[in-house]
Subunit: 336 residues, 2 copies
DNA sequence: TCGAAAAATCTAAACGTTTACATTTAGGAT
DNA sequence: ATCCTAAATGTAAACGTTTAGATTTTTCGA
């Protein structure tokens, strides 16, 4: 059956005009039951499937939303994507997904392709917060939603997690347990999450009148290795901390590796809380306490935002969601 | 700039016909340098971006390939997808991704949508190995590549991993270390991976003349919980095994949880090898030995297969890739 | 039974490309 | 200058829908 029947074939077989067929395909009503039946039969008989591209051509909408993530293999994103997809399918939308490997160049390329393909909206965790390359999208009037990382030079809807608050909660927890020498392994200060989590750390210390000790601040880059080096560094620093806060999942992993190798006893000699839940958290002994983000929910909200924007283009103010992360206390913190 | 310039606007501005513009857009040559320059200028001036949907309409190809996976949050798939994407982008293809949550119903729905959208090819890890719902695709002449799970009732290109061999290698390793009471936690025997991994287990035992002891065979379902229960079961069974082979990553995780709780000392009292690498493998002590699959490569090959099939539709025989997994010996095996 | 209003159906144009084929132009040989 | 050929450019149809507006059919009250 290599030949693809078109709406015209259906019309012919059912002895009606293509307009009528179109009406029943899109069930717009205004077609007599008997005619409809005839058409439906014809459709089944021919195995007709309507061409989405012809439809998009006429309608000037593709029911597709583009998703851009920096790294599809980072477990955070598949969960977000799952949330988006779920909601999207419910509304008859489909997603086209691309991963930039944190490269702004690739990101720009993808943006261009997405425009060519006529996506109705874009959900993006950008590799370049300046957002200049996003301008193209805005020029075309394509709704954008930024997830996890804000976009500077444009007004776009965003769904972020309250990084400051999450870090604050974590560090406060450590303080309340009596810790005073609390270290942080930071993310890059050029990114919003990196900066904000550091801010939360400082805020907690301030609030409890603990002076900030620069030697307990290690600059990482969100990669596993820097977590590893961070832990090493802290272990051998002049003031050995009694607690560590790690700014993201990958660094947490590196950190734990180092602790094990150093035989620096987690939960006994050093307390630990990491930002973002990680699979290993409940495996290692003691179980890791973490700041956890509602990943699927983030995706769901993001979709809702583009969806709204697609359907009510006008007079929607910029909307910003700020979800509160949850502190999951497990076993890696000890009282002092 | 809400108005989208079309090829016609460009033609008008450059004072040529749309045919000529089309020629330079697709750089087909046969256009004088001076005309080309004029056209390129016009394009830039207007910010013209060609409509992929109009193009697809005429060309009857979308340069899109659909990917269907059972569970996007299972770490195996994002890696495969990354491999596909990488190669696809190189060839000017884009991917549209959907996750079925292991539901054949959703899968069928997605297949339908993919056809509507005119994907040029499909890469699928099916939730229903019978493959009856795939028939639709085949009817439309859309190339299909099955990944990780074979499809029964149709001839499609496949890229699988040699499950038998992988399991065989793992179990042989255990045997060579002196183990004789080797248990297996099986996957569902209704799935190819489940069956084949069990086969590999049996093959190794046979080869070394170790009788199969049914009480050391635990039936799991690839879910974490069944790994957990499996370990428990084996611990309390009349013949306690000295080694365990687990048939997939999730069950490995459950298993390790149980071992920890039982205080059944990994690498001392019981050796362990699991199918598929897991993130925790190198965290826990001792580090887990695993059978590891080349996930990105799988994706790359899968794309190559659809690509070939798209471009040389005729006379390509069915191709089957069978990648050999690699045994990664770490620390969870001990000599006896 | 007739006519008017309402409901159903049809006609044809449009969406933005690509491409076969027709036409024009350029430029060298005579 | 003229002609011829090859190169450059143009014309128009087609791809498969949706949809406004025109037309036909049905329905129903008088």
């Amino acid at each position: 059956m290599e030949y693809k029947p078109t709406i015209e074939d259906v019309a012919k077989l059912a002895n009606v005009s293509i307009a009528t067929v179109s009406r029943v395909i899109n069930n717009q009503g205004g077609v007599r039951k008997v005619t409809e039946d005839r058409i439906v039969n014809a459709i089944n008989e021919l195995g007709y499937i309507r061409s989405a591209v012809a439809r998009s051509m006429k309608r000037k909408e593709t029911n597709t939303i583009g998703i851009i993530v920096p790294d599809i293999t980072n477990p955070f994103f598949p969960h977000v994507v799952a949330g988006i997809e779920q909601k999207a399918r419910e509304k008859g939308y489909y997603t086209i997904l691309s991963s930039t490997n944190e490269s702004p160049i690739i990101e720009e390329e993808i943006v261009k392709i997405f425009i060519e393909r006529g996506v109705d909206g874009v959900i993006i965790t950008t590799a370049n917060e300046s957002g200049d390359h996003i301008k193209l999208l805005q020029d075309q009037g394509i709704p954008i939603v930024a997830v996890d990382r804000a976009i500077k030079n444009f007004e776009v809807d965003t769904v972020l997690v309250d990084n400051v608050n999450g870090a604050y909660q974590a560090v406060r927890q450590l303080i309340l347990q009596g810790h005073e020498k609390i270290a942080i392994i930071c993310g890059p200060q050029s990114t919003t999450p990196g900066r904000e989590r550091y801010l939360g750390y400082k805020k907690a210390l301030e609030e409890y009148n603990i002076p900030l000790d620069e030697s307990l601040v290690y600059q990482g880059d969100f990669m596993e290795n820097s977590g590893y080096r961070g832990a090493l560094h802290l272990f051998y620093s002049k003031v050995r901390p009694t607690a560590i806060f790690s700014s993201n999942n990958q660094m947490t992993i590196g950190c734990v590796k180092a602790l094990t190798e150093l035989d620096w006893k987690l939960g006994e000699e050093v307390s630990f809380i990491g930002f973002d839940d990680v699979e290993i958290a409940t495996f290692i002994k003691p179980k890791l306490s973490v700041v956890s983000r509602p990943m699927t929910t983030i995706g769901e909200i993001a979709f809702q935002l583009v969806y709204d924007r697609i359907h009510f283009k006008e007079n929607l103010p910029k909307r910003e969601y700020l979800l509160t992360p949850e502190l999951k206390i497990r076993e890696s913190c000890h009282k002092i």
